[in-house]
């Protein structure tokens, strides 16, 4: 794989991360990160939708009339989201129940429109696919980190399994109820951005 393609695929994991560098898709990062499982499912769903909508728009890019291109993008994204929702409802009903509202919100996830406008309209299908996968994974990575801290500190569990031993609770340890609330997701994202910027000095604004 050429260095450019590697950059397309792996760049969004760190230097071009959609959540902590481009600050896209923040609302869903707050909504589904109280536990790891919905965060993972949301990440996978967004990855699938962004990759395939990128490919479809990239294939159509030379035919799309520029005056209705946003509408075309929205129709493609909405159709894919509905298909993902239908499949989840048929094969992962519990997850569907947890995510029900947020699946619909994928349509308005800024990462999708951002990648379609910025990348897929100007690049070939394979590059666009890699870009979609990369951005989806970058988004998933942040969601998983946030959900890890929120579930561990808020519920004392990971993926629903209790991690913090009972002896801690007996000794007076308490789950932090604030971690379950959406504001803490924002604060955790802020901390991740802080750590990330202090490692990557070139990202710091002067």
């Amino acid at each position: 794989m050429s260095p450019e393609r590697k950059d397309i695929l792996f760049g969004p994991l760190s230097k071009n991360n959609p959540v902590i560098v481009l600050v896209l898709g923040i609302c869903s990062a707050l909504a589904v990160t109280a536990q790891l499982k919905p965060a993972l499912v949301m990440g996978v769903s967004v990855t699938v939708v962004v990759a395939f909508s990128n490919v479809i728009i990239s294939l159509l890019r030379n035919t799309i009339p520029s005056r209705i291109r946003i509408i075309v993008q929205l129709v493609v994204v909405a159709a894919l989201v509905i298909i993902v929702e239908q499949i989840l409802k048929a094969y992962a009903y519990e997850v569907w129940g947890q995510l029900s509202v947020y699946i619909g919100l994928i349509i308005t996830n800024c990462i999708l429109m951002g990648r379609l406008e910025a990348f897929a309209l100007g690049n070939g299908p394979f590059d666009s696919f890699l870009d979609g996968i990369g951005n989806g994974l970058g988004y998933t990575a942040i969601l998983v980190i946030v959900a890890f801290f929120r579930e561990l500190l808020g519920s004392g569990a990971l993926l629903g399994f209790h991690i913090i031993p009972q002896s801690f609770y007996d000794a007076g340890y308490m789950n932090n109820g604030l971690m379950i609330m959406p504001p803490m997701a924002l604060i955790v994202v802020g901390c991740i951005i802080w750590v990330h910027r202090s490692i990557n000095k070139d990202l710091q604004e002067k």
Partner: protein
Amino acid sequence: MNKNSNVYTFIYASVMVIIVAAALAFVNGSLKDKQKKNVEIDKMSQILKSVKINSPLSEAEARYGETIVSSYLIDAQGKTVSQDAAEAFALDMSKEVLKPAAERRLPVYEALIDGQKKYIIPLYGAGLWGPIWGYISLESDGNTVYAATFSHEGETPGLGAEITTAKFQEQFSGKHVFQQQQFRSLAVLKAGHKADNQDAVDAISGGTVTSRGVETMLFDCLSAYEAFLKGLQAAPAVEQATENNENEQANVEE
């Protein structure tokens, strides 16, 4: 071809919409049966929850078959109108509650827990933002609540949505829907308050409208079963339960 002409744009949009609509219709059609099955299994697991059985969805169908020994439809006089279990299971409560109580068809699910019969009654009502529903199970004395479970469509998380928590639902166990042979339903009251002539549970703080919705739903749905429940109370087969009732009456008289 001029891609910015009106004709091109118009044709492009039309073709795109037709293709997308066809694709979505195909997906919906091919997954419909599986989705319907999931909804049914979810309902079974909710019914099981009302008799304190928490089973994962994958096992709900089997556990339901073991636990629910019969289900049937009755009318407001307490007479059985249909013995068809499938019909009783599939009955759409959201339509039934709109009818006057006398015309409703009322499902009853009988569960056998440790050799004891429990009668499960479905509930359906309105919360703050949308419908709320649930199942309440009564002991064979037709008076004592064994357990209850509630679900909702879109109540506020952290406030009204708290009706789905064990903390709220566990309060219902052991409460009585009849007081001195009179149907009284259950009250959902601000924590610490007591109702006259009525058993009460604590409402959700901050979820006043939803809590009131639960109270209204309990009264509305249970009152239609009054004749049926009185029939259960009169039945001589449940001696132990009757004794309990007498004891309570004695307490009241004191």
